[in-house]
Symmetry: D3
Subunit: 307 residues, 6 copies
């Protein structure tokens, strides 16, 4: 009891130490700490998060929304991890929100009057938004690898990732308008800043039509299309490997400043960047990298300290 | 009569009740309340606004600027309308501003000294900007369907629309620099947020070169190119029908939040969205839509209340 | 002499009067006032700035950073110049920062403790950022013409230009992550606002992979690809000629408002624009341009006053 | 007649030409065009707007909300007017919103479901907000002169004015929290930017306690306290006279830039100001004022053109 | 075990159920769940949080920083609580940060190089900032009651509260500059928006001089000064009672919109407010309050539902 | 000589090396490098800048505007200086702009048409704005000490300073409206963020009335009033001494973050602060200060490294 209390003091989210404990015992293979996510480390410094409810078409149920927060909070603090791959188990990436499981939250919110019901709904929406915002707050780059359907909440999720890849058979659908609501956990906010055509964003959001991989590539939603899931996962691993091999100070600083710049004017972005780099430039990694470059070594041959 | 006309000139809003009255009497067929716009209802819940001065190549004259405001103000409050199509009558979409008609406003502004002339010009520019901003303030999505030339003010207009379609023979030209001025009623503000290539936006605005339909499609200015006007109008109607069939709470909330998000950071967009949806999620439309989905019905088979 | 040189080091602006003086004497042909830039006037109203250290692959050394500021400050005030072309001499556009020359600044910054070293680094970074921001602050449009490699600082530079052209053999590389740092003089701030695909921006910045001309064109980084340098320079001159022929009031007002709009909401951009044009519309250039248009003359046949 | 009245209800702007017409006929004495506001011109260039429902303690009824917009829209365009005094007729300034008259709007909004009711409420609130925002949009300075009670909507109103005066017996109360709602037509947005103590703003808004004139003076809500209404009105006229005597280009430019600066960073405010004054400095008024100053004349002795 | 797991699912922060459990058992008297904070409910709907390390002059130790987050997170979700009083036990409010306990965090941060040390420090500072930001995120108003010294972190804390009261013997000191650092957990960000004199804020922050209660009152830092702690606590309870008696929908909406408005332009604040109130106006509380007002009842006589 | 003078006119920065040279020779006593400013070092680490045209009532002539930039640019880079006192020589602080000397710039700007004249005016205004913005950009705190009149440009100047003191006989006047223009070099932008009463700011700016020292103190414009100039200068020196004694890392970081926070939301201010302090906390000054505190030494007894 005393032991538990003392861990409590340091760490108010009980999940984390429990999880760490479990991991310590089973360091290889996916952990079973989450019911909707499967975590593995396919290669050094790369964490693979797999949406893992294939029997439910990876629909996002109640557990998913809170497990995502725990998962990415942990990854954010895990100095062994330098880059994340996010994909879906089974036949498709995700069918989106699991309406059966979530219905009571969203469709029958509690409250003595309209104001109180609204208050509760706002709290719930804000919590769900946080589920995907943690991806952005996690300083490690996240590569989304999409195969098959990516519907509704799936689009909210991948627009919060840093890089998107997909298979030839992938398709994307902003489904919310079809169930009578404006997408409220990220798509409407992030998609216009992710792809270049305002006309296309509006059309997709207003009609809920499917967009297939070719259009996803040409409009810039994904950077690359692969023939099938296997080749995509290979490609994702290779890409993640490229990122993981580089200085984590450089990589994570790049991610954080790209996100900051998206939301600020150029002048503000430059000011923040200068303030950021006044310390970050004092890393050994610059010297190590410069030396490696002179010795014609690749980044993968350089050992950077953890971050 | 002369007296009335002169008050009309001072006060555009006098149009509205007159218009309502006229409409009440002739509910089918295009109304004749506007001299530059022709309004019709080609299909349930779809309003078609046609720029209708074909003999003047749909040039934007003095009447146009105030009729647009009246027209879209009325549409904004018309609960029968769920989506708008905007096109041009005759051979081209529009030749832009009607310099002959507008010249006295812009070229010979009044004022006792430079400051007072400037003051008057600022008032005029602000009023003209409002002409296109009403499209954005109107919560119903607006689909622009462009054929032939879309010049100067035409580009200002379509960048304020939500979705853009065009014919194979369409071309676009930011003409203002050719007549010695920086485009000041929307193009410079909206185009960079509408298409993905900053280099292209700058080139078009600085050289006044024409952009043809293929480039308009590949750069994302339009979502789709049709072989001719007839097929485009069919396509526009089909697209508008898709939007009109969906919950107006969802559709109009989507438009308003997409525009809000364009002008704010992601965090601010999410906060606004949560505050918006805390009430909007309490619509019957969610339940109706969900039930329809379970019964394998399309949105068109669901009857949503007016908004 | 040594004394003078050391004051020069402290105070870059001392260059300017010297330069003006030299120029007054040798008005034709490239000046030799800069050691890293070669300035010429290939055609009326067009200034050509050439990065001119071909023997060092146009690497950006210490002199370059301050000469850029002097050069563009002077161009900003030079009423003879209406548009700028920026290109690189020799085999490639630029290899980026000259680490050998810059190393002491960046790698061995001075300071009694970490805070003071950071303070100095921030001052240095801010100064380097200014080097490219002057391109943006200069109201004359700048056309970047890229051939061969455009690496690291080169990408920072061209994203601050208004229009980008390249040759078929051009390639682009955000190199910074490879030497252990987050790009801090403009790329991370400007590139996301220059090209349409967020996924691609992130991938390029996080992996330092090369992007070739075809992808640069399709993603919108450049507006046009030419077969070789010669044809590109011809194209650049033609494009610059189109811009130079137009009213400088219109052209420079367009540039300044496009940049303002990039960093503000549409409503703020419109307000600023109206306040800008309340005086700028009172230019003779509008009347001159209108008259020329009626007489079927091209802008090149109109003589506009200097600005 | 009934027909006209009903169109009036729908369309407030119909008032304006009627009003202009009436005024043309009776240029002296207060007009009777408004049912809740009495307009007079107590002195050259000064418009006095009086809230005039003394029998109802100047409660803000349905007519008031639209008459304010018409009144200030007209004043904004009235070049004879250079400054406005706003006061209340009868025993107090205002008792705030007239709940009896407004109840159906606010308490029983229409709508088929919660979302639609919310939609209508938002439209209504936005319209009511506009009622006070027109004071801010009107470029002529508005001096509020408060005696007796200033409750609820009264505080919303005066915080949108530029200068506030009051009598010794005046008191102020943010009443909204007492009737179960957060003040939504301006107080919460403007009061924190009007007075210096955050703690006091919060206390007043959260407890609905009355604040008397002494505290109103010491916290900066009002600039001056007068012994009684008569002396206050004299003081207001004198103050308004000082403002009216000065160049309208200077005065109105000052108001508009003060409001702009309140809502922007200092750097943005300076940029806007420079862009504003690049034309406004070219007024004859500067020369006239400078000459008057050299001749030891007061501004009142200078004749400025209308604006 | 199953029981624990199921509570985990609902609530990932284990503290909360544990704490609730403890409270259920000892509902009167302060709980002992926190080591640095003592929580009680002195009156209906009022939560009293007392900084409770009197033997250490209420210095903020490591436990304090995380307990604050837990405490206010819980209060935010506690529908029984409508307003919070925050005070200090013992002779003074707080001596600020407990340097002895915190030294290792701040003075000897870990990291393999400067960049990594900086990274860790930034994480720590951000966490500490969150400690006071939770006060602002908690929608229930927080009244700070200060007696004796309020030093360093104490000023950070009270500027995040909504209303500030103090005793005659209270004094305030921004201590950070005295220990070689710029105050980084809120004072520099919030104080300028809390009191009206920029000159005074700067002087206090740059010289670390003490400010006594009289000046704190006259500059607006506190709303009221009491002769001694007992009378202040009575006053705080009375003030809190006034707030607690009012509709929680109105009170908490007021707090949230005041904070939103502080950080946005007036136009943005109004838009957010309208979107907020479109649902919140649909509360029964408006009708209840209106009815009570007509029946001459005070808010305390009205029973509002929990929120 | 004439040649040199003319280059000087074009290029203010040429002053700097000259100045440095002169200083090297005469390190004690005020320098004579500036014609309008007198610089001295009354005490260790304190720079005293005196506006020194007493025979012209310290009116701001053409030389002043550029000398201020040179002076504060130099101070910004002078690691011997930790705090600045700014005062006026002779009988008053300043009579404001020297209209006789400046008239040609402002009253007779050049330009071939209105647009070009406006363009030139904008450039001039922007340059003048910079004159006072350098005070803010200089990281060393600036204490303004005002005696007698502080008119027009004087108010622009002191609102850009960090702390303001004045004598009993001081008075302040926003004079611009009296000469037909809106104050455009800082007062309208900064004053509302410097004092707490919006009503007072507006009244002062719109009426040009004088404000005396008592009101200046009670509204928060100045932090302290002294009986006469001598006691004020003593007080200023003492205050400056307090600041100069403290860690320059702490002091200058405090100034820069206070200014950043003024122009940003609290959340943005906190983020910037954390990014700033992640390196600045790693200063030896924290340890030195902590140790001094434990040894009961005052900051003046600690030797901090230069910054």
């Amino acid at each position: 009891m005393t032991f538990i209390r003392s861990t409590f003091k340091k760490n108010r989210s009980l999940w984390l130490p429990a999880l760490n404990y479990i991991r310590a015992m089973s360091s290889e293979g996916p952990t079973s700490a989450f019911s909707t996510l499967s975590i593995s480390r396919p290669s050094n410094a790369i964490t693979h998060v797999e949406l893992n409810r294939p029997e439910k078409r990876n629909a996002m149920n109640r557990a998913f929304w809170s497990e995502m927060v725990d998962c990415f909070t942990e990854i954010a603090g895990d100095s062994e991890c330098r880059v994340v791959i996010f994909s879906g188990a089974g036949k498709i990436f995700t069918a989106g929100i699991d309406l059966m499981d979530m219905a009571s939250d969203v469709l029958q919110p509690e409250g003595d009057d309209t104001a109180r019901t609204s208050w509760n709904l706002r709290r719930i929406i804000t919590k769900y938004q946080e589920t995907f915002s943690v991806i952005e707050k996690c300083p490690k780059p996240v590569v989304a690898a999409v195969h098959g359907a990516c519907v509704g909440g799936g689009v909210d999720l991948i627009t919060a990732c840093d890089i998107r890849l997909c298979t030839q058979d992938a398709w994307f659908q902003i489904k919310e308008v079809d169930i009578g609501l404006a997408a409220d956990v990220g798509t409407l906010q992030r998609l216009p800043k992710v792809i270049g055509s305002g006309s296309l964003v509006n059309e997709l959001a207003l009609t809920a039509r499917k967009m297939y991989s070719d259009e996803a590539k040409s409009c810039g939603l994904v950077s690359r299309v692969f023939p099938d899931k296997e080749s995509m996962m290979d490609g994702a691993l290779e890409l993640a490997g490229e990122i993981a091999a580089r200085s984590p100070v450089a990589v994570q600083g790049t991610k954080m400043n790209l996100i900051y710049s998206r939301d600020h004017s150029v002048a503000e972005g430059l000011d923040y960047m200068a303030t950021w780099n006044m310390s970050m430039l004092q890393t050994q990694d610059v010297m190590k990298s410069a030396q490696a470059a002179m010795e014609k070594k690749t980044p993968k041959e350089v050992a950077f300290s953890k971050l």
